[in-house]
């Protein structure tokens, strides 16, 4: 019997025929007809018109027919909600069937019928099935709760299904446990705050026991759930790890990867001195390598994850370089990923092998792969200094092949090598120049131009070479134009006599004929620099360049930590946080690694090299955070490697003042040699000014006297408790002074006089700076408003919570006590803007354990609005950048007692939830700073 015939009916009037057949008395004919309907449904034909006829077939004792009808129902119920109700009775009846397979089938299907009206009918049958005697029915019912929750979350909560589901975690059947865990984990994702899973040592123990008994899929659900748990101390972490490690030998790669996730996460909590830590580290490598013998698609997933693991813990796979050598029959996506990992693992010890491989790859067929291999050779040179010479000679060999894209790629990386090792390999410039004509890609052209400009004094015909590029200036891409401009200015500064004409030409091309504001701005800056102070120009343009970082494509630490928590999932494949590709709120809960708990660890900074490793090597493989942040903070100025050298050096060499000051005076200076009149825009000053503040973001906001946010007054002391005196108040900070704004109301029947106020000692030494002055006696029902200036010079005692303030108020009747909380932002001082370099250094300096992360929800502002609003409360944006569509604001603030708090605020356009990471030497303030953020942003 073949079913393929059902796919071939294409006649017209088919629906009518089917209708007739569906209503036939003969069972066989009916079944045939339903099969035809399903086949049509599969290929995308609309057979919803047959809904009543198909549903009529539901009442049957033929299970096969029943399953087919259910399949149809799941597809079309939503479009025919009224008709779907017809099916309810059958479901309810089937849930009572003596055959557990039928009960399960009913409960499974009814969860897939997404019709609101139906759902409430389904609660009773579902409740029964959750407590069914048969485990097969229970495990199906567990998943059904998740289905129902997806349709109507409120209903599920009201009906108490969540509690039943929680009970199923203690079920005797491992598969029921696994499905309950899966369902609960999914439901918990949409309620990030609720402690739905309620993981505690007891429930964890249950899960670990079920782990040994359930199916491979169940093991994955459980391991993924375990990964969300944070053990209370390192001992618990270790004992969980011990019970999870056997999973590393499972044939199912997903089980292995999920186990790796749990181990990688909990390892964070283990002390590196522990023997067990070393054992665990050794146990991780073999299963990861074994994943590379899996099917190619899984290899790809594994490699993307290994890429993350190697960045987080380079020591795991440092001896396994060879397994990442590319095989001839690897699919291209596997080859490219392997190459990436090879570079990450390259070290002095294995560089010879790596280079030999890379050279081999550079002669392969796939263009992308070859390019990446060539680029990799350059990265090796930068990473392992001892190999630089060999890399350069390999690259020269490749240039000799004259294969166009190989040559271009090689030139791009040689430029980077020049940056890293200045004045070492200039002998090869001649060879590079021979290939000038063959370069047609912007990146390669720009690299070549950079080299010519940088070494203009050693290239006899540098002016000719650059001039040749200038001919087609307008056809070049912006990258090449910018580079050409800078290179010619460099040339001019080095050989001023012969190249005056050339520089004039390029400046006028850049400033007059170009529509590109970047190019114009840079042109103007050079022009003015050259015309006012050639010495300063030289200092700026030819400034010594900072070293380029060794690895340019490392994932930033916070994202890396989040991705480590997502090992095995799509996020780890995309190398993007879930929020970047998942719609809505589901599954985008920001995950972070657990902090170390052992007290002995607190002194150890993450940069410390592991015992036994030579310190130098560590530096090679792990770039310091400062380097990274240096990249991050470069704003739009481009990465240091390929970016315009002028801008990079200017910012990093502290030439900011020189430029800023010089230009300020230039703009108004009458002696200024203006560019030709036609080119001067009428409002020249304005764009220049704004351009500058964009670039350097210096003065805006510093010292502005706008007041910070003031909360509305709240009742601090109700009249009932103070014999008729009601006090409400709030705190303000204006122009650098803090005050407590009080409103005293007399609700008693007698006059109040002789007011006085006193504070208990508190965390920040807040104290009244003047006596409480109520000028006239307060008569009944009268209200008076007083602003009490405060100082922070009082005596200090840490309070709990940190920002609580106990106040005593006295009047002629009695003494009253009350306590209130002050918002921390009244303590943010106006000079809390940290210098960018300082910020970097400080961020790096504060140990990671001090970092705290918070979510700010439902804040509809965009980055600019956030920044300005925070600034008015003295939280200053030090830098801002955009990563994959997300705005990252780096901010600083200082408290009155001199404590600095550094913040990273992640804002995703369109998503009202922000992520706030705070770093501070006194981590206990973080919580309150977060509250301050909340208050400021939401009011």
């Amino acid at each position: 019997m073949t079913d393929s015939k059902y796919f071939t009916t294409t006649k017209k009037g088919e629906i009518f025929e089917l209708k007739a057949e569906l209503n036939s008395d003969k069972k066989e004919k009916k079944k045939e007809a339903v099969k035809k309907v399903i086949a049509s449904m599969t290929v995308g034909k609309d057979v919803s018109a047959l809904f009543p006829d198909v549903v009529n077939c539901m009442q049957t004792d033929n299970l096969e027919l029943k399953k087919l009808v259910y399949l149809y129902l799941m597809n079309y119920a939503k479009s025919q909600p009224d008709m779907a109700i017809m099916a309810v009775n059958t479901f309810v009846k089937d849930c009572e069937d003596p055959n557990p397979l039928i009960r399960a089938l009913a409960v499974r299907t009814m969860g897939c019928i997404r019709v609101d009206k139906i759902t409430e009918y389904l609660c009773e049958p579902l409740r029964k099935c959750l407590k069914d005697e048969d485990p097969y029915v229970r495990k199906t019912a567990a998943v059904c709760v998740a289905k129902l929750h997806d349709i109507n979350a409120q209903l599920v909560e009201d009906q108490g299904f969540l509690d039943t589901l929680k009970d199923l975690i203690s079920d005797s059947n491992p598969m029921v446990v696994a499905n309950a865990v899966a369902a609960l984990s999914e439901i918990a994702e949409s309620h990030p705050s609720s402690n739905l899973l309620d993981l505690n040592p007891q429930s964890i123990n249950k899960l670990l026991t079920a782990l040994n008994e359930c199916t491979e899929w169940g093991q994955i659900f459980i391991l993924d759930c375990l990964a969300n748990y944070t053990p209370k101390d390192d001992r618990e972490a270790q004992s969980i790890c011990e019970r999870v490690t056997p999973r590393l030998s499972h044939a199912n790669s997903a089980v292995v990867l999920s186990a790796v996730k749990v181990l990688m996460k909990f390892m964070e909590m283990l002390s590196k001195d522990l023997d067990y830590y070393g054992t665990l580290l050794k146990k991780l490598a073999p299963p990861l390598v074994t994943l590379l013998s899996a099917e190619p698609e899984l290899q790809y997933v594994a490699l993307r994850n290994i890429n993350l693991i190697v960045q987080k813990r380079p020591e795991v796979l440092k001896h396994e370089m060879k397994v990442f050598f590319v095989k001839y029959n690897d699919p291209i996506y596997v080859k490219l990923e392997k190459l990436d990992i090879m570079i990450r693992l390259a070290s002095q010890a294995n560089i010879a092998q790596v280079l030999a491989e890379l050279k081999e790859y550079a002669t392969e067929v796939d263009v992308d792969f070859v390019r990446k291999a060539v680029r990799a050779i350059g990265r090796c040179a930068i990473k392992v200094e001892q190999s630089a010479e060999r890399c350069v000679s390999t690259l020269l060999d490749l240039i000799q092949t004259k294969v166009n894209y190989v040559v271009q790629e090689a030139i791009v990386v040689i430029k980077d090598i020049f940056r890293k090792y200045p004045n070492k390999y200039e002998s090869v410039i001649a060879t590079l120049c021979e290939n000038l004509d063959s370069l047609d890609e912007p990146e390669a052209r720009a690299a070549m131009i950079w080299i010519v400009g940088e070494y203009a004094e050693r290239i006899d015909n540098a002016d000719e070479l650059l001039e040749s590029f200038l001919e087609g200036f307008h056809d070049e891409s912006a990258q090449v134009q910018l580079q050409l401009l800078t290179a010619i200015v460099k040339l001019f500064l080095k050989k001023p006599t012969e190249t005056q004409e050339l520089v004039q030409q390029v400046l006028s091309l850049a400033t007059q004929d170009s529509d590109n504001p970047d190019l114009r701005d840079r042109g103007y800056i050079y022009w003015r620099l050259l015309s006012t102070d050639p010495v300063a120009a030289k200092e700026v343009v030819l400034a010594e360049k900072p070293l380029i970082s060794e690895e340019t494509d490392l994932i930033e630490p916070t994202l890396l930590d989040e991705l480590i928590c997502c090992i095995g999932t799509l996020a780890s494949v995309y190398h993007k946080p879930p929020s970047a590709f998942v719609e809505g709120g589901r599954g985008v809960v920001h995950k972070s690694l657990p902090p170390r708990t052992a007290s002995s660890e607190s002194t150890e900074s993450p940069e410390t090299a592991p015992a036994g490793a030579p310190p130098g090597e560590q530096l090679d493989t792990v770039p310091t955070q400062g380097d990274l942040l240096g990249d991050l903070l470069n704003l739009d100025l481009g990465p240091p490697v390929s970016g315009p050298p002028l801008a990079t050096s200017a910012v990093q060499m502290g030439a900011v003042d020189l430029l800023g000051g010089g230009l300020d005076s230039l703009i108004g200076a009458p002696s200024f040699v203006a560019p030709p009149a036609a080119a001067v825009p009428a409002n020249l000053g304005a764009p220049m000014g704004s351009g500058l503040s964009d670039l350097f973001d210096l003065t805006s906001g510093v010292g502005t006297l706008s007041g910070s946010y003031v909360a509305p007054k709240a009742v601090w002391l109700p009249a009932m408790k103070a014999k008729g005196l009601e006090i409400s108040g709030t705190f303000t900070r204006q122009a650098g002074s803090i005050s407590m704004d009080l409103q005293l109301t007399n609700k008693a029947l007698q006059v109040m006089t002789d007011f006085a106020i006193q504070f208990n000692r508190n965390s920040f030494g807040l104290a009244p700076a003047a006596p409480l002055q109520v000028h006239a006696p307060l008569s009944p029902t009268q209200t008076v408003e007083i602003s009490l200036p405060l100082s922070t010079a009082g005596s200090v005692m840490k309070t709990e919570p940190l920002n609580s303030l106990q106040v005593a108020v006295k009047n002629n009747i009695d003494v009253f006590y009350f306590s209130t909380l002050y918002p921390l932002h009244i303590l943010f001082v106006e000079d809390g803007k940290m210098d960018r370099q300082m910020f970097l250094a400080t961020w790096k300096d504060i140990p990671n354990e001090n970092e705290a992360q918070f979510q700010i929800r439902d804040c509809p502002l965009n980055a600019e609005a956030v920044s300005s609003r925070l600034q008015s409360s003295s939280i200053f944006t030090v830098a801002r950048r955009n990563v994959e569509g997300q705005d990252m604001l780096y901010q600083s603030l200082k408290l009155t007692n001199g404590i600095w708090v550094l913040a990273e605020l992640r804002i995703q356009p369109g998503n009202p939830s922000f992520t706030l990471s705070l770093k501070c030497r006194a981590p206990e303030v973080s919580q309150h700073v977060y509250q301050a953020y909340e208050t400021i942003l939401k009011n």
């Binding site: 897939c112 899966a182 659900f221 499972h250 099917e295 899984l298 790809y300 599954g587």
Partner: protein
């Protein structure tokens, strides 16, 4: 979790479409067809994100299987599931082809309903599934109550891969050890990297619920056994092997392996892959392949390949097949070989040299003259490696089943294995078969 699962033919026509989640619409079916199946360029990744929807795909012959999701699913799990899906389909109706899928579409829907619930994979062991889903339709209405509850307890039970009450008149057990030696050699003959990845495939035809225990001469085990047995092992000539890593079928008790290094399990019925292992230390290459390539002018290539068997003379390698790739612009080939038969297969761009059997410590060679068409074609030849395939097969009674001798030429020697002490479960016959794939080297670059 998985939001939907589609199966397409090579033209991109959808054969099976099952949607599990509300966030996956019908347009997802078309999105995958347009962006992946009909894409102009070769697929660059098995995971594709189209309009915030992620597609995972695998291909079996010319059938595409795609899983779709909008959430941050466990990617490794999705692929494992897709492979499993293929295994299950193959176990039910053989080759995965358009015809077979169309013929069995009702069955496939039924399976998909069972093994994937709301996108969560459920028990997908064919042994269990076949107890209640069959190609002949459902049996359950004729089942007794006991049978029904037996089914459900098996599907959800701890031993979901085996049903109870299996009976064989002859208890038999077969073990196949399939190894591939992956060797990367530089054109100068230097070994760049070498590893052996092995699979132990078991065919079990045993009655009841047999408890099996299996050991191997893994270095860790032998060292653990201590001095008492050290003499014994040296007498029997067993070497211990350092296994880098191994993975096991889900029937093997992993925590027991972790603590005792013993492999104990209740096997599924029929054929299954018991374990995989990988080793890199002390690999003795069973063969040595020495290629010589000489270019004679622009249109002629002389190739000489020597193979030397590097194992005991008493052993025999069988079904040897050496595959020598030829350039794409080959117009004709003339081959001379001392032993076996060699043929140029134009469709495969290779010379295939077959030798029926070859004893240890022997040598054989082939020479070929390859005529090339003069070409300006810039498309480079990818120079695939020479590959080699052979088998060592031996059949033994159980009492002799110390594998050391059979597999001596191979780096991994699986030594003892025994069934549980229950005598009645002892199989009468077992069969060991070792097959090795061998990828020896890259061809030297052409000058």
């Amino acid at each position: 979790m998985i939001g939907g699962l589609f199966i397409y033919n090579h033209k991109g026509e959808v054969l099976i479409s099952r949607v599990y989640r509300d966030d996956i619409g019908r347009n997802a079916v078309d999105a995958f067809r347009v962006n992946v199946i009909h894409a102009r360029q070769q697929v660059r990744s098995p995971v594709t994100n189209i309009a915030r929807t992620s597609f995972f795909h695998v291909k079996r012959s010319n059938i595409w299987l795609a899983a779709v999701t909008k959430q941050n699913v466990n990617a490794a799990m999705v692929f494992e599931f897709l492979y499993k899906m293929c295994d299950v389909m193959a176990a039910y109706f053989g080759k995965i082809s358009e015809e077979n899928i169309k013929n069995n579409f009702v069955l496939i829907y039924e399976l998909l309903d069972e093994i994937l619930d709301f996108g969560y994979p459920q028990n997908s062991e064919t042994g269990a599934l076949k107890t209640f889903i069959t190609q002949q339709g459902i049996k359950s209405q004729h089942q007794t109550k006991e049978e029904q509850s037996q089914i459900t307890s098996q599907v959800t039970g701890q031993i979901g891969w085996r049903r109870e009450g299996i009976k064989y008149r002859r208890n038999e057990l077969f073990l196949d050890v399939l190894e591939s030696v992956n060797l990367l050699m530089s054109p100068q003959g230097q070994v760049l990297s070498a590893h052996v990845s092995g699979r132990v495939v078991m065919k079990s035809y045993l009655s009841g619920m047999p408890e099996c225990k299996f050991g191997m001469n893994d270095k860790i085990v032998i060292e653990k056994q201590g001095k008492g047995t050290a003499d014994e092992t040296s007498k029997s000539g067993k070497q211990s092997i350092a296994i880098d890593d191994c993975t096991f079928h889900q029937c093997v008790r992993l925590s027991k392996f972790d603590s005792e290094r013993s492999i104990s399990f209740i096997p599924p019925d029929g054929e299954f892959e018991l374990m995989r292992y990988r080793t890199t230390k002390d690999i003795i290459l069973p063969f040595r392949v020495i290629p010589l390539v000489r270019e004679v002018g622009r249109t002629k290539l002389e190739v000489k390949v020597v193979i030397k068997s590097n194992f005991k003379p008493s052993l025999l390698a069988q079904k040897i097949e050496v595959r020598i790739p030829t350039p794409l612009n080959t117009s004709g080939v003339q081959v001379i070989c001392m032993k076996g038969k060699a043929k140029y297969k134009a469709s495969e761009n290779a010379i295939v040299w077959k030798i029926k059997r070859m004893a240890g410590m022997k040598e054989s060679q082939i020479s070929a003259e390859i005529e090339l068409l003069p070409t300006n074609d810039k498309k480079k030849w990818a120079r695939p490696p020479i590959s080699m395939n052979f088998e060592v097969r031996q059949r033994r009674g159980l009492e002799q089943c110390v594998l050391g001798k059979t597999l001596e030429i191979l780096p991994v020697n699986l030594c003892t294995y025994h069934l549980a002490d229950d005598e009645t479960e002892t199989p009468e016959r077992s069969d060991f078969n070792s097959q090795t794939h061998f990828f020896p080297c890259r061809l030297p670059p052409r000058n």
